[in-house]
């Protein structure tokens, strides 16, 4: 499977993601410059974490106007797989490829820590190697991760089983305490209605080798590779 990791000015997880895909998972992987208009025939586009355009205006708000995003939008519309991690998730929301928006964390602090996440839908292209209800341990690192959507949108997300990951405690319970950034319905990751676009705040690329404290992130990438 061929992956393309998009590089924006201010991306800082681009090489980590490139490394995880190429060296750990042994997949053909290319970096895609945001000013190009060429997806180089990739099977999956990854929008990495970081601070594209310094988070100016709003996180992800300027990156959505990058030239390559036109191609990404068309790629997604044709059913191409798009994975947005952290800032990449924020870009997908600003692009309108996923519903909702991000607000500053409820405690107004930058959160950099491991969290527990429950797999709510193990039937997606991004989670089919996981079990429903499986608890993953992945790191987060963000300031604007409080997921917000109007009530009607939240209901639709639940009805369509678009919520893929939820912040939970060690036992897998979606408690208020485990919801570190204050997201609506403890939402940490969601797919579009068609199921080919996933956005998530945790960093699977930072948890793809035992040396990094967790290998749970591999599940996301391996699911993609398998499907």
């Amino acid at each position: 499977m061929k992956f393309g990791v998009v590089v924006f000015p201010g991306s800082n997880c681009d090489y980590d993601t490139y490394y995880a895909l190429k060296e750990v998972l042994r997949q053909e992987t290319v970096l895609l410059w945001h000013k190009d208009h060429d997806l180089q025939g990739v099977d999956c586009v990854v929008l990495p974490g970081g601070f594209s355009y310094g988070d100016y205006l709003r996180a992800g708000a300027i990156a959505r106007f990058s030239p390559l995003m036109q191609e990404v939008r068309e790629f997604a519309a044709k059913g191409g797989r798009v994975l947005g991690i952290c800032n990449g998730f924020q870009v997908l929301l600003e692009l309108g490829l996923l519903p909702g928006a991000m607000l500053r964390n409820k405690n107004l602090k930058f959160l950099c820590q491991f969290v527990h996440l429950r797999v709510e839908n193990a039937g997606t292209l991004f989670t089919r190697r996981a079990r429903k209800g499986q608890v993953l341990r992945l790191p987060i690192a963000h300031f604007d991760g409080l997921y917000y959507a109007p009530l009607a949108t939240l209901q639709e997300l639940e009805e369509n089983r678009q919520v893929v990951l939820r912040y939970v405690d060690e036992k897998g319970e979606p408690t208020e305490e485990a919801n570190v950034n204050g997201s609506a319905s403890n939402i940490a990751g969601l797919v579009n209605e068609r199921g080919n676009v996933l956005g998530l705040m945790p960093h699977p690329e930072r948890a793809s080798e035992a040396l990094l404290g967790s290998e749970d992130g591999r599940l996301i990438f391996e699911s993609l590779i398998q499907s």
Partner: protein, 85 residues
């Protein structure tokens, strides 16, 4: 022509930064402060548009770029000379 656009969170969206500022004001004894909402100001210097054209295009800019309509609302005005200080 100078245009000022104010962007702030919708009433339905929690504004933790505004709450923090409010709490600070209450701590300082300004007990009459009942609520604080924080927002952003954009001053645009416009050239080559009539006022009528500006009135059409400014809301478009605010809606498309400056504000995220899911969480934010905006107001705007054309600044008169006196207000540009």
């Amino acid at each position: 022509m100078r245009v000022r656009i104010l962007v702030s969170f919708k009433e339905s969206v929690l504004d933790p930064q505004g709450q923090t500022v409010k709490n600070a004001l209450l701590t300082l004894g300004y007990a009459f402060v009942k609520d604080v909402r924080q927002g952003k100001v954009f001053d645009l210097e416009i050239d080559g548009l009539t006022e009528e054209e500006a009135r059409r295009v400014i809301p478009e800019i605010a809606d498309k770029v400056l504000a995220n309509p899911i969480i934010e609302k905006f107001t705007w005005e054309i600044l008169t000379e006196a207000k540009q200080v």
